[in-house]
Subunit: 489 residues, 2 copies
């Protein structure tokens, strides 16, 4: 059963930037003893750490202190101290999350992992890397490139996000349709538990059934069960060539159906299969600087198909095959090519979409992260159309159609006042969630539950599962110290 529509009051909470609940001056001293001048509580730092990329400031909350550990030992000391004093601790990667998992409880401590950013081992024999969690995903990619290797589980925000955050959220991304998600590549981890113990899980092993899969329980637990301090990640040979095809469809339904056809019939399976609704693609394209803009028509939807190869395939032929499938499904290929210029141009548009939406969606944004069975993408496209007409608002729809994972983002009409909007959004979400529940879908494919979706989780997990998740949390964090209010309330 979906919860009744939440009101503005129970969804939001006061913006408490000015008045942290817990600002015990002893705490600042204690933390300075552990972290020295890396325990910071100036106004600017607290403000930065009161938010992530959630586009709804009602979720923001200021910590009392931000600490920047450089060693596992410091995090152990932090967690022991936090249990003694009852202070909540929220781990934070790059703060690029979209569900509020890195937002602290008011007056808590944020544990910023950005200084633990060493790449400890690039093991080209085992095809594994060992990294600290603060490594920026793109940085790892740059280090791997000369070895002809890559980390396949990268998310779309690779330029800013950190590996630790990717793992904590089990991030997906633009190539998951071929390569899977972050969790598929994590083979080992050092973790500081909520009670301040250190766990060494897994190793440079491709198979491992020695004991329950605690590693996979930790991955995607959004900083609520432990803090990663080291990660062993499998890397794979880097595709040597990439080709893209960008296509338009006069019918959104036809575009959605072409997704299935491409997945089933391409002899070289697509490495990306992305959907953008027509108006969003056009407006984003318009907003890009001109010289590299795509020329795109007035269509209902667009698909970006990427195909890659390790150098032994005729990618042009593969793209032609994709073009024929698209034509048979009613689409028109607008651009197609294997040059880095063509690849970059298509991805530049795709990657700009969330930023364009964020800039134009107004306050109190809902950035949804729906996932449905892959064959239900046409129904999800219809549901979005339904919601647009029923509620009279613009709702961009875009994302990883090949995985059944699409982002859906209602935009506040300029004419609507904020009170009306904050009542309308939960009604849109409830309709959306009711619709996807019927399809066998769920509320997050890659962004996580964070703080935003806690109240909806109960509607999508059965009560037994929810009870077990709570008991696992209590078992591993008996004092409720680690990132309380995230995933579970």
């Amino acid at each position: 059963v979906l919860p009744t529509e939440p009101t503005r009051r129970d969804l939001g909470r006061p913006n408490d930037l000015e008045a942290p609940v817990n600002s015990d001056p002893d705490h600042q001293e204690d933390l300075a003893r552990i972290f020295g001048d890396r325990a910071i509580n100036d106004e600017n730092t607290l403000r930065t750490h009161s938010r992530d990329q959630v586009g709804d400031e009602r979720y923001y909350a200021s910590p009392a202190t931000v600490v920047y550990p450089e060693t596992t030992g410091e995090i152990v000391e932090l967690m022991r101290w936090a249990n003694l004093t009852g202070t909540p601790v929220t781990p934070r990667g790059a703060g690029s999350g979209l569900a509020g998992a890195a937002i602290p409880v008011p007056g808590g401590v944020v544990c910023n992992m950005s200084r633990m950013n060493r790449i400890l081992d690039v093991d080209t024999d085992n095809l594994m890397v060992v990294v600290e969690p603060g490594v920026v995903t793109r940085t790892l990619d740059t280090v791997l490139e000369p070895h002809g290797l890559f980390f396949a589980g990268y998310p779309m925000s690779e330029e800013i996000c950190s590996i630790g955050g990717n793992v904590a959220e089990n991030a997906g991304g633009g190539r998951a349709v071929k390569y899977g998600v972050t969790a598929d590549y994590v083979r080992g981890a050092d973790v500081v538990t909520a009670t301040g113990d250190v766990l060494h899980l897994g190793g440079k092993l491709l198979k491992n059934v020695a004991g329950y899969n605690l590693l996979q329980l930790m991955i995607g637990s959004e900083g609520t069960l432990g803090i990663f301090t080291q990660l062993t990640i499998q890397v794979i040979p880097r595709p040597r060539e990439r080709g893209v095809l960008f296509a338009s469809f006069v019918s959104a339904h036809a575009a959605a159906q072409a997704v299935s056809a491409l997945k089933r019939r391409l002899s070289n399976p697509p490495s990306s299969l992305e959907y953008i609704d027509g108006p969003t693609a056009r407006d984003t394209n318009e907003a890009l600087p001109g010289s590299k803009r795509l020329v795109i028509p007035d269509a209902a939807a667009f698909l970006l198909v990427e195909i890659d190869s390790n150098g032994d395939r005729d990618l042009e032929a593969d793209l032609n095959e994709a073009g024929l499938i698209i034509a048979a499904e009613g689409g028109v290929s607008l651009s197609r090519g294997v040059s880095s210029d063509e690849v970059e141009r298509a991805w530049r548009l795709r990657k700009q979409v969330p930023w364009w939406v964020k800039q134009h969606a107004g306050p109190q944004q809902a950035a949804e992260d729906i996932v449905v069975p892959p064959a239900s993408v046409p129904q999800l496209v219809e549901l979005a159309e339904d919601l647009r007409s029923r509620f009279g608002v613009r709702i961009p729809l875009y994302g990883h159609a090949g995985d059944g994972n699409l982002h859906l983002r209602p935009m506040k009409p300029d004419s609507m006042d904020l009170v009306e909007w904050s009542d309308l959004v939960p009604r849109i979400l409830t309709s959306l969630y009711q619709g996807i529940a019927k399809m066998g879908g769920t509320i997050s494919g890659e962004h996580g539950i964070g703080r935003k979706r806690v109240k909806y989780l109960a509607a999508f997990l059965d009560p037994v599962e929810l009870r077990i998740l709570r008991s696992l949390k209590e078992t591993m964090d008996p004092n409720g110290i680690l990132n309380p209010g995230v995933v579970l309330d």
Copy 2:
């Protein structure tokens, strides 16, 4: 720290087939009320269910009753009854496990899943199947073949093992080097918990981060955290062609190094990369009926390389490429081809190896399931050679070299008496485990901990992890009803 060498007394236990500890006649009546004539306690049934494929009868123990559920509801009733009466329940798939996970505690109840064997849904749009756990893996494959689909996570024992057992053990197999293991394909499950609740986890979804990954915690938990009653499994397009290359090496070390070279340099990544030591391959080959026997020389080691394709590659060229790499590494291609006859002949030998060993290894067998970082396979081969000369016994070594997962099986010399042998085996294992611990390896890649490796698990997991695993088990099975003595003691 590895445990001191266990003595025969603490490793073994009395063969209690004749005297189940718990044979309360009321229990038989209770179970008959739930299961009717599917609650069985005749001598033959109890004997069959007192063992699995563990080659050491000291682990065997007789249940008091075997039940054959046909519905989830019956399993719910069973578990509630078991908690009330304090009766241990051991779920059992096909009994093809190699670590004793399906062996009951004396006088417990075995829950035989073989009657829940319906294929409920072959969803060719979503590329998912929904099955009951008792479906035999090969049966599913036969059903998928006409759709051009396959379940990639199949184990070597596909002809006999069941899907539920595959999932409970997170089975690997001969194609994991390309396609991964069972866990990589399980997208949803219905599970009866130890306390008799029903959990619905996941669905036909390719991405899902809604809550902690309870599904992956259940997978590989060897029937100690829940009983699967329904499984949603992703299937993938079936490779249309397969080719094999069977090669000999005068040096085992060279064969092991060729594994890395093949993984790194083949443009079409191998779908299987299997190792067999020379004497074992020759003796197994000798024991096969003649007409389809391979002609193999007196070599130190053999590799079986399989390459597959969805029909758009020149497999002969791919095999030539593999042949050149093997030649450069000092190997000689003995047979190479894409005909079903050639493929079958090579696999027939490989699949017969464990059966040949089982037949000739004598009583009290140790079938080891070592996994090391993939680049450490040459060291593992050396370690096996070391153990052979140090302990003066024959030790077949074979398996999934591409994954770093090799089976190592000491054989009792005919001249050695059983008392001496039962003292020697734990000493061999301790040396083996000390060696692989130094390589960063662990004690099971695909067979599981079961009953056989419980005492060694503590040496390979850190104490914090072990404590957490125990607390997870206690949280989910407070009365210790579900498969006690398996994974954890």
